[in-house]
Symmetry: D2
Subunit: 325 residues, 4 copies
């Protein structure tokens, strides 16, 4: 089965963005109804990624809304981060009540995913980490995260539990900080349906080369889902994909194409100062250019160069191809 | 005149902190009255840094409030960042109406500083920068910032205009990103009362060694004010000072002490998950330990080592002193 | 069994250091004999880490030399990096001749380790990586490294194969770049005697918190050996340990102490401009201060703080303890 | 006068590269004669940058060599870094003998530049910095560097003294670490012929956006010369230009073109594992593609976008232009 760009957007892209400086938001408030109307306008998008209960409260209602705009659901994530109660962690909280509440939301999200026809549950343990040195029992945190994932994976083996790793924000340090750690932890659960969501922006933040990481995650059958956005490798600014990292995206999509990655790509940007519909459309349009471009690469030429360790051949070949395409 | 730790806190430390993830805030809302009551409780603090009109609306009222808690004002800053109207810049906005509004708030802040007995106007041009490549006329932005500073400096030559440089946040790139740029721009105004506020956390973010930067700023008579906080050199997490960077703070305070820096030190942390009063007190307590420590350093020994380029002598001397103090 | 600082030095510390700029070396040439005489002078050191065939050519001769200076061997590493023939990789070379030569040196080093009473084989695949994008078949490289390690591990199950991970230098990217990747690859070999050498400097370069990584490596029984040195988290300058990262080392040794880590610590600095004997001694002296310090930490107090997610308690406790010690 | 790509190569590109790991060099030794023969083979190159006395010992001889290969000299630099005697600094050395020797070599290099028809003296104070905290009298170092530059600038006002700033290597910290510092120091000399050499790779290392820095250096009449190479923003690997940073180079050359920069561009790569002639040619060929590309950008469209702070317009325009060119 051939690689095909299957595009989704996150509902969160369309909520008014805020940050520490403009905490009341860069854009006017929007109703849930208008939000999904906006999503419906984005060209080339087939699916949406939703966080429960932030983007929807019940399956029945959201199903109607999505039908109206003709969207599938690519993934459902657990809303275990936006309220202050999660500030010391969700499924790794030492407060049993908080931990149970987090697990319950995860379970409901997994069930919602199944009911909505999504194959992916997005697990982003935002506050499960630490800020200061001398603040953490690292062993206990690791144990709790593995146990939680094992438990979640058993709920519905048809739903893939995707760990969205991230090095920082909102904590200065998150437990599952890199692709390699996400894979380690996936394997430690001994469950086939625990794997990794690569958010390309998160990958840059922890100084990975996304192509390299994607290849081994894929080969371990644990590359479940992709989020696309970009930044300057320092902070998760969720900019339009490839607006900073150009070659890295070309190499990434070359390998996704060669490996026949057949999952979704969720365009998960945060357009603080830009129109969300336009920015989403431009993001997809630009990545389509990259996908079309990598399909022109002659794999036998490419392979010959890499089999010879030769850096110059492909540097010349790719540039020549780009500037005459 | 000898170096003395003159401590202030920012009023902003005591407002409920928020970020992109928990935009409604990590702590309950607080009234202005309760906020200043909290500030009044912090031990060892003589002054407060205020942003107009965020922390106070008129001079008369705030003067009463401050008298009640027995606090001086070390600096007044311009509130030109928290509303979405500033998102494309304040004094460098291309929208003349926005630009004028920003300049007006700056002028009112300068006047308020004078009336409240503060010597420093804090100029933090938060949104005056850019996010994407191909988005900016760099020459025009530089010109506008210099012209604005020149104009502000002329309002009241008794008030020092302190540029709080910062590399990023809320924009991915801010115009005045480093100590050297802040000094360049200060000198370009040809006004003696334009200089630099070193926020130690900002200094780490742009990979400076604060001691080194403080020395040349001081020697140019442009080191006007200090903000103290810490981070992991990637993002402005505004943690407690020296909780990450220990030696850097010891070297910084050694030189502040030797140079007889006699300005304020504003403890400008952002205690997302910590009690603001306790975190402020601990910040001051820990920095006092450092100040007491550097006073024990024998300058003639220290000087002998640095005059000989010898790295080992002071590495041994400082460690020995620390572990037997 | 209690934690005890068991100190070694690398023979490489005592060779004249060179870099790209001063490629002929910062110090005069030294004979092998004088080198080991220097090592013999370093106080508090019980062992030495050797690279075969760079530091010794045959077991019999080196045994005599080491007896003379009264040193044990903590680890033997494979010299598969200093000659230009290795520039495209050693055990992952696509040139079968090079690959075999690399494997042979590894095998001889493992045998030498056994004969010399060392428990650790140091595996540092320096050139096994890439420089440019579009230069590498990531899957093939990963496969080759795992296969090589499996083969090496089978030679002598009494010898622990320690992967010294490193993100960069001499390549811009090395395959085994982080602690998590080193552990992943160790586990993939399905051999109990493949594990990790944490070089603390390498850990900083890939933006790890060494304490956090050491804990999970230890809990997986794969923390085989430690190298101590420091840098500014950008490049492997191999400076004296804790000269930059102070708190990080305190937290690291706290956990090594609590976990009863009983391996060696090899002081593996590169004193470009400093006397190698003096710099080694000072490195050990300073780390001893840290070890003595962490032994004073009341674990029940420490634990109570971390069980409550509270950042302030230990920040205050550790500072108080340090400044009255 | 219109912008024209005037290409040079550094002679150092063609010497066998070495680093800390392969200190004997990645390539066989080469004679001076063969080196210049290699340079003569590089297509599209009009000039060469030379370091005295590393690349030539006397003007008369090198003039003959250069005539034979038909090369001009774009710049002459001072060879004050490759011998161990410089390890604590050159013109800022506290050893008067070393300092004088460094100044003498600088003076001879300036004279050689004049005799060879070059307009630029390359000043790269490699070891003038520090490694450890507590090792440096920052004020004294700053003073010495300014005084030295003032003295050198007075020798021949027709020769531009170009400061090649760099944040690190061979020291962990160099005094003139950024474009802004290089400009500050240039202005402090009060000499019009002291200015800045932007090495694009060095610019990335200190996290600058080269376009932004080039614009204000140019507007201050202090952008004297450019070096082209690339890296991953962590270490000066001197890779082929734009092989990592693509958009950054497009924006840089857009502004160089608009500003009519008419200096040289020296392709100053370090091809550790690549053929020097081929890598130089490919570097130039790729940058030519970029130059041709930026000439197609409609400045009135570009300007309209940046005058409106709009990030999307140029992101779309530039991508559309690139993928149909």
């Amino acid at each position: 089965m051939a690689f095909n760009l299957k595009c989704a957007v996150g509902a969160s892209v369309f909520w008014p963005p805020a940050d520490r400086v403009v905490s009341t938001g860069y854009k006017p408030a929007i109703t849930e109804k208008d939000l999904f109307k906006s999503i419906g306008k984005v060209k080339e998008v087939e699916g949406v990624e939703l966080f429960y209960p932030y983007d929807f409260k019940d399956v029945k209602t959201i199903r109607i809304v999505l039908n109206e705009i003709g969207m599938k659901v690519c993934a459902v994530g657990a809303g275990i981060f936006s309220e202050p109660k999660w500030q010391y962690g969700s499924v790794t909280s030492y407060d049993e009540k908080i931990r149970k509440e987090a697990m319950d939301i995860c379970k409901e999200s997994i069930n919602a995913a199944a009911e909505l026809g999504a194959k992916i549950f997005t697990f982003w343990p935002a506050h499960d980490g630490y800020d200061y040195y001398f603040q953490t029992d690292y062993k206990r945190k690791w144990y709790l995260i593995v146990e939680s994932l094992r438990e979640l994976a058993a709920i519905n083996k048809e739903i893939n539990i995707g760990i969205e790793y991230k090095a920082k924000e909102p904590r200065t340090h998150q437990i599952i900080s890199s692709a390699a750690k996400a894979l380690l932890i996936s394997e430690e659960t001994e469950m086939d349906n625990v794997g990794v969501i690569m958010d390309i922006g998160h990958s840059f933040i922890c100084h990975e080369n996304p192509a390299e990481e994607a290849v081994y995650l894929f080969n371990k059958n644990r590359l479940f889902h992709l989020h696309q956005n970009d930044n300057y490798a320092d902070w998760d600014f969720d900019m339009m994909p490839a607006s900073v990292h150009f070659w890295e995206n070309i190499e990434l999509f070359y390998w996704l194409y060669k490996l026949n990655y057949n999952g979704w790509i969720n365009f998960d940007i945060c357009p603080f100062r830009e129109d969300a519909v336009k920015a989403s459309e431009l993001s997809i349009k630009n990545i389509k250019k990259i996908v079309n471009f990598v399909k022109k690469i002659d794999s036998s030429l490419y392979k010959k160069a890499i089999d010879n360790n030769n850096a110059l051949i492909n540097q010349e070949y790719i540039w020549d191809l780009l500037f005459k395409n």
